[in-house]
Symmetry: C2
Subunit: 345 residues, 2 copies
């Protein structure tokens, strides 16, 4: 069982793997996670090397955990959090902790070991974002869970330990700190102005134009004004929408198209860089906590979901860990211009 521990200085929860922690000797040699796995556990025929699937898109006549699927959702084999049990909140002197309850799932996006999201068919990307929506909706029925975090690590530098295209979902009994800070900002802006912070940002970016990467009827991709990293991109719905799990299939089809285009631009503009993306949807507002008015867990109509895409280009990320302070060597205007003109054949 892992633990969620609270840092009283940073006021941040950290997942600590107490049980099967990596021993110090595991770090001694620089790890090289081989990516030429002959028998990739995510490829056809190796379904028995993963835990049994939670969900799959597969022909009616095919059997679970056998080949033939188009997409699979499985529990992570080495989960950071486990679904069983209560939170068991407790104190330890000054400190607070609880059991590592939650979900940790893997979305195997395609049977094709070498596929790239930016080059897949729109209908296949649609299946992926649809499963994001449906897994979030399903997990939010569990009132112990406060947040479902969808993210993707692409490339070894970005933290991917397997090359086969996949994304991950971690559902936690807390809202991650960065998301909580954003929810607070959006709420505060709304209280002041009775307008959505992100809608205001979108309006200004459309008017100024110079940081827009692409824009269609439903979505906009921008390099944010205060980008922390070169070529950082936010992808937002142009119409105000607070909850990703309420998206209709039409919205998802349009999103699949835009996401694919943005990732394709990134791939051709920067020669297939490693990247992370994270979906910032609303927290689980079904949760009602007696006696603790954590107010963005009421209906978060002032929230505006979005996807943050971060190419991992710079190593110059030393002191950022310890400071929350960033130096970005590439202005977002330059990055957006370059991405706009990146050729989409």
């Amino acid at each position: 069982m892992s633990e969620l521990r609270h840092d009283p200085v940073q006021k941040r929860w950290v997942i600590i793997a107490v049980e099967r922690g990596r021993r110090p000797s595991d770090f001694k040699k620089q790890e090289i996670t081989t990516r030429q796995v002959k028998t990739c556990p995510f490829c056809y025929g190796n379904e028995d090397r993963t835990p049994p699937e939670i969900f799959a898109i597969r022909p009616d006549d095919s059997k679970p955990n056998k080949p033939g699927w188009k997409l699979r959702v499985i529990p992570n084999k080495f989960p950071a959090l486990k679904v069983e049990g209560g939170l068991n909140r407790r104190g330890l002197g000054l400190y607070d902790l609880m059991d590592g309850v939650g979900a940790h799932e893997v979305i195997i996006e395609t049977p094709d070991h070498n596929a790239h999201l930016g080059e897949m068919k729109v209908e296949d990307v649609f299946n992926i974002v649809k499963v994001y929506r449906d897994r979030i909706a399903d997990l939010y029925k569990d009132h112990r869970l406060r947040y479902a975090l969808i993210f993707k690590n692409y490339g070894e530098t970005a933290g991917a330990s397997l090359a086969h295209p996949h994304s991950q979902l971690i559902a936690t009994p807390i809202t991650p700190r960065t998301v909580a800070a954003e929810l607070d900002s959006a709420r505060e802006h709304f209280i002041q102005k009775e307008r959505c912070l992100f809608c205001d940002i979108i309006n200004q970016e459309v008017a100024m134009g110079e940081r827009v990467v692409l824009m269609d009827d439903k979505y906009i991709a921008i390099c944010p004004f205060a980008s922390r990293f070169p070529f950082e991109i936010w992808l937002l719905p142009r119409r105000h929408q607070y909850d990703f799990s309420l998206l209709c299939d039409d919205d998802l089809t349009a999103l699949a198209d835009t996401l694919k285009k943005v990732l394709h631009k990134l791939r051709i503009a920067l020669e297939d860089p490693p990247y992370n993306f994270v979906l910032h949807t609303a927290p689980n507002y079904n949760v009602r906590r007696p006696g603790r008015p954590n107010y963005w867990e009421t209906l978060p109509y002032d929230w505006h979901w979005h996807i943050e895409i971060i190419p991992r280009l710079t190593k110059i990320a030393g002191f950022e860990w310890g400071t929350g302070f960033y130096i970005n060597p590439t202005p977002p205007e330059l990055a957006a211009e370059f991405l706009r003109s990146a050729n989409e054949e």
Copy 2:
């Protein structure tokens, strides 16, 4: 001139290099910063390859910017911030920005290209921490500057672009967000309990013992309860001290000894890992801002300076950027036990 831009969502200032931004093409090939520089700009005889020194420890009969020195402080050749000019605070629609005013200095710690802080003589480490103290005190005379951040990147993975032992100082017109959050926590704890948060942590850690790496009369090194990273270490003075720039020479000698020991333990326990450390001292409380009671810029007697050391062992740092959420595979108790028993010959 670089710009400081404010992210209205994360409420975070980012330094953006507007002028000599890295062009997209700079990222195309994975950069390899050669570390076998034949003519290292930080070695004897190459002093003219750096900007003129701000300070040096050198024999009385030696000339500035010539060999013979024991330690040099120079302006960064490619500074993120520049000392000249006013802040020029302004708005741009929804956004806020100011000119990139500040200081960016490099402390060349020794003439020995291959030295390691953990293996240097205590008196040489003393010179380094003494220069930290003196540079902070000097820069805090400038009332435009709110914070002086001392940090060290050791090893390429940790962001060091030159192998020669050096640390850096960035002084900014804002307090970095992570430090600001810690200052707020410490103030809040003090208001509630009239005790220092860090003193309370130290007391509990001494009593429990299991997360203590080493402890002497003046200092303590612990793996924090909610460590974000494997083998993360905090080094704190056992006696309450809020301002690093007020340390006396005796305190600095003891600090040099402890810092050296901790880094030596890290080096032998984990086979010379790359690491970052950051000094979290008090903000510049000489600054008095009319009309804006940013209250931890009054005398921060409730602060407790410390050094955070982060070995860079895991690549599994993908989604952390986008969430502020961490999964640590090594419990701090295990890490501390291993470091305690690491042999110091």
